[in-house]
Each structure stands twice: as C-alpha cells, then as structure tokens.
C-alpha cells in the first residue's frame, strides 16, 4: 500500500523508467555492459539482439532478480536497485519469463487468482475477463501443468496482466505461436495498453511480430545497446543485418 502511495507522487519531470549505465558481469563476462535506456509512462519498446547478448539479463536486473554490478535503475523517480524482488513487482514491474512459468498443479483459474493477489488498489480486468481475452476460458478448470506450451504462454500473459502492472517485461511472448496467434497477441497487447496505459519492454526474435508491434526498437549486442530506432531504421542497419538478421533475411 505504502509503495503505491509513494509511487503516485512521482516527482516532476523524471522519466517513468530510466536505466543509467547499467553493468552486470558474470565472472569475466559482461553480460550487460553500460546500458542506458529511458521509457516513458505507457510507452513500449522492443529489444532485439543475438542469442546471449544480455536481453534476459537486462530483465533480470530490472526486476531485481539479479543485483547489478554497477549503474542505476530509476523507476518513477526512485532508484529501485537493491529493493526486494517482490516489492518491485508489487510496485508494478512484472515480467513474463522466457520459458513459460506457471503453477502446474493448480487450475488455470487459481493461477490467475494467485497472481492477482498483489494489486495494491490498481484496477484490472476480472480473472474471467482475462481468461476470455487469452482464450483459455474453456481450460479454466484444467491444471495449468497440462496445458500445451503455447497455452502456457497465454496463461502466463494473463497472470502478468492480472497484477495490474504499470510496466510489463515480456521475454519472447510469441515464441511457439502460430501466425494467427501472433497476430492475436499483438492485438491483445495493443488493446491492453490502450485500456490500462501500461508500459512494456518486449524481447522478441520474430521480426514479423516486432514489426507488427510497431514501436521503437533497441538492438543489443555483446551487452551493449548498439542501435535504436523504428523497425525500418533498425532493419536497414548493416551491423544488425550482419550479426542478427543474417543474409537470408536481408
């Protein structure tokens, strides 16, 4: 409760999320290397980059799962470095994992109920509405562990949304989805952002999906952000073409 109250009194012109010269090293490797990034309230940004360039690690840092080696993360005017994981989440930064992560021996419905536990007064669609949105109403009494891979992805998205987040971090939300389903996911993300003004960072490798999201893009390589811009700019960047997209996609 207290967090939420604090959060509402965001100090003047400070950006919604500001990442300042963030570094994370594992042993000798710098997985995240002086990353700077700013996100405005309700804004969305895609992060793309080769496998192992540090995208997931960046999410781990923002959510407080890992402590940064140096640098700062400021959320709504305050540094959140060192804050406990659950406090950060309760304050509205909620992520979807790269490998879908649900409560396997609980029903789909209870998964949402458990997730919705911490909302701190922020309002959100009801569990039933959320399930409907992601097309899992028919499965609501099934154990989450029995869902197919793609269905788990949908469920996890619904769980994240049920916390009434201010910022969602989606790690490859479209992985394993069919073309139609991807289109559906894009539609869903847009709809939610329209309705709740939630900000989003999205990691994705599927360029068609990225294009459809239609938002600014940052490209990471070897832990650094090496390019930023809209879809077309990024796509034309020779470095991105060579190291990420590959000749075939060029």
């Amino acid at each position: 409760m207290q967090d939420a109250a604090e959060g509402n009194a965001t100090s003047g012109g400070a950006p919604f999320l500001e990442i300042i010269s963030l570094v994370k090293s594992f042993g000798g490797v710098r997985a995240v290397d002086h990353v700077d990034l700013v996100l405005d309230t309700g804004a969305m940004r895609c992060i793309i980059g080769p496998n192992g360039c540090g995208k997931t690690t960046l999410f781990n840092l923002i959510t407080g799962y890992l402590p940064p080696s140096s640098g700062d993360i400021r959320y709504r005017g305050q540094s959140i470095v060192g804050r406990p994981l659950h406090k950060i989440a309760a304050d509205g930064i909620v992520r979807k994992f790269q490998v879908p992560s649900v409560f396997p021996e609980m029903t789909v419905e209870d998964n949402i109920r458990a997730a919705a536990g911490v909302r701190h007064g922020r309002s959100v669609a009801s569990p039933a509405e959320l399930l409907d949105m992601v097309g899992l109403t028919k499965n609501r009494r099934h154990m989450a562990g029995t869902l197919s891979h793609g269905e788990k992805q949908w469920l996890e998205l619904a769980m994240v949304l049920s916390t009434a987040p201010r910022l969602i971090l989606l790690d490859e939300p479209a992985a394993g989805m069919t073309r139609t389903e991807k289109t559906e996911t894009v539609r869903l993300i847009h709809e939610i952002r329209r309705e709740t003004n939630v900000a989003a960072l999205v990691i994705e490798h599927d360029m068609a999906f990225v294009a459809a999201l239609d938002c600014p893009i940052s490209v990471m390589m070897l832990g650094r952000i090496v390019a930023s811009g809209d879809y077309d700019t990024v796509r034309r960047d020779p470095l991105v073409r060579e190291a990420y997209l590959g000749a075939v996609n060029g």
């Binding site: 997931t56 999410f59 781990n60 799962y65 994992f97 790269q98």
Partner: protein
C-alpha cells in the same frame, strides 16, 4: 602433544567412516533424488552380512570384501520392487524408505533375534603411534574409506557411466530420449549406494554392537553432512562429513558427547541456513 596426535587420529577415523556412510547417502539422494531413510538399515545389513559370512567360515577380509555385494544385491531388489516407483516424488521416497527401514529392521529381528552379535576384530594387532599402541584394524578401516571414496569419485565424475548417471538424475525423460537406459542406471546407482552403506557397516561391524538397530545413529549426522557440504558434487558431501565428523569427535574429545551432539547439530543448522547450497557448490541460473 602426542595425546593430541592420537585424538586427531581418532577423529580422522570417525570422519572417514562418516564420509563412507554419507557417500552412499549422497549418491542416492544427490544423484537419484531419493531420501533414503533406509540407508542406516543397509549399513546394518552390512554388519549382518559380515556376521553371516564369517560364521559360515569365510576368512574375515574375504567376508569384508563380499558383504557389500550382498547388500548391493538387496538394494537392487529394493530398487526394483519399491524405489523405482517413487522416482520424481521426493516426499514419497521418505515414506517408502521409512517403510523399508522398518521392514528390514524387523526382518532382522525375526531372523537373528533382537540381541547383539559380535564379529571379532581381525587379529591384525596394533602398531605404536605417538607412543600409544594403535589398533591396526582402525588404520585398515581408514584406508578402505579413502580408497572407496576416491574410486567412487572417479566412477561418478570421470567416467562416461558417471556422466550418464548424473544425466538420468537431472532429467530422466530427456536422458532416456538420448538413448540412455535409465532403468539400468537407476539399478546400478541404487545398488552402488546401498553397497557403500553395506561396506561401511561391514567395516564397522567389529567395532560396534551388531543388532537390528545398529543403523539408527548414523542417519542424522550423515544427512547433515551432505547438506552442510552441498549436493551435486562429490566433494560437497565429503567436505560436509569432514566438518560434521570433526566437530563431533573433537567436541566430544574436549568436552563431552552430550555437548558434541548439541554443538554439531546447531552448527550444522547455521551452516545450512547461511549456505543453503552447501559449502561446496556451483552457482546456478534460475530465470
């Protein structure tokens, strides 16, 4: 000074025996994810196997060499009939092996009676160490422990068999999809772990009361050892056993056995709490 040397020797003896006991437990727990509450009973069976073999007229050291195989055989049967049905259900392994331990203990009561039996310490004499005659048999037990520990280490961490065994533990399904005969490995691993307990029991048999409850006192220290040290490596449980065993026998040597128990348990709880992955561990990536 010389007294201290003897105390340290006694302590190493206790430590090495605990290592041997913990090693089997660590393989079965760390590698198969089975909390084997019957481990102490396999140790007890090792005592009785030695008893039966020597009573049948075998020379002591031949009996000592054979006893672990008898226990491993019993382990094999237990694996086939019981343990394999509990894989991946950690908590059920407790209940199942608890039942097994009751069964084995009472089975022994019915076979051999509730009383104590004795196997004589083999007549290997004693040597003068630091001015005290030290029983050679104790030195032999220490040597057996060391050799077994090294051999086990080698098998599980330096051979392809060991690699496959570890893979089965980490992800049974995936291992089988890669062409690994998981059943065979399960059997061998469990039998190996039980055999180690049997060896510990057989080696200790001349020094303890051989009775159906002979295995009980080992369990808690052995479990603490493997947790203090950490699982997933072989050095972990060994380090843990060294810590637990040394603290125990040294506290007992300088204060009393009552204190020793309190100190060991408290210290173990603190260490496990502060280093939940054990003193020897590898960092893992979770998210």
């Amino acid at each position: 000074m010389e007294r201290l040397a003897i105390v340290l020797l006694d302590s190493s003896n206790a430590v090495l025996v605990l290592m041997l006991v913990s090693l089997g437990l660590a393989i079965i727990f760390g590698l198969m994810n089975v909390i084997n509450m019957a481990h102490g009973e396999f140790l007890m069976l090792g005592c009785y196997a030695l008893l039966a073999l020597t009573e049948a007229g075998l020379p002591f050291f031949l009996a000592l060499a054979l006893a672990p195989f008898i226990v491993a055989g019993i382990g094999l049967v237990a694996e086939e009939l019981l343990i394999r049905r509990t894989y991946a259900r950690l908590l059920d392994t407790i209940l199942a092996t608890w039942g097994l331990s009751l069964f084995l203990r009472q089975g022994m009561v019915l076979l051999y009676g509730p009383g104590s039996h004795a196997v004589a310490v083999p007549d290997v004499g004693s040597v003068d160490l630091f001015g005290t005659p030290y029983p050679v048999y104790r030195l032999i037990v220490m040597a057996i422990s060391i050799v077994t520990i090294i051999a086990t280490f080698y098998v599980f961490f330096r051979t392809r068999f060991g690699l496959a065994a570890r893979a089965v533990i980490a992800n049974r399904t995936m291992a089988s999809c890669l062409g690994i005969d998981t059943r065979r490995l399960d059997r061998i691993t469990f039998a190996f772990g039980s055999g180690l307990a049997g060896l510990a029991g057989a080696a200790m048999a001349p020094l303890i009361s051989i009775d159906p409850n002979a295995g009980l006192g080992w369990m808690v220290p052995a479990f603490l050892s493997i947790l203090v040290g950490g699982l997933g490596t072989i050095s972990g449980p060994l380090a843990g056993a060294a810590g637990v065993g040394a603290v125990d026998s040294l506290t007992a040597a300088f204060t009393s056995p009552v204190w020793a128990q309190l100190v060991v348990f408290t210290a173990a709880i603190l260490v496990i709490r502060l280093f939940p992955n054990g003193l020897v561990s590898r960092a893992k990536r979770e998210a």
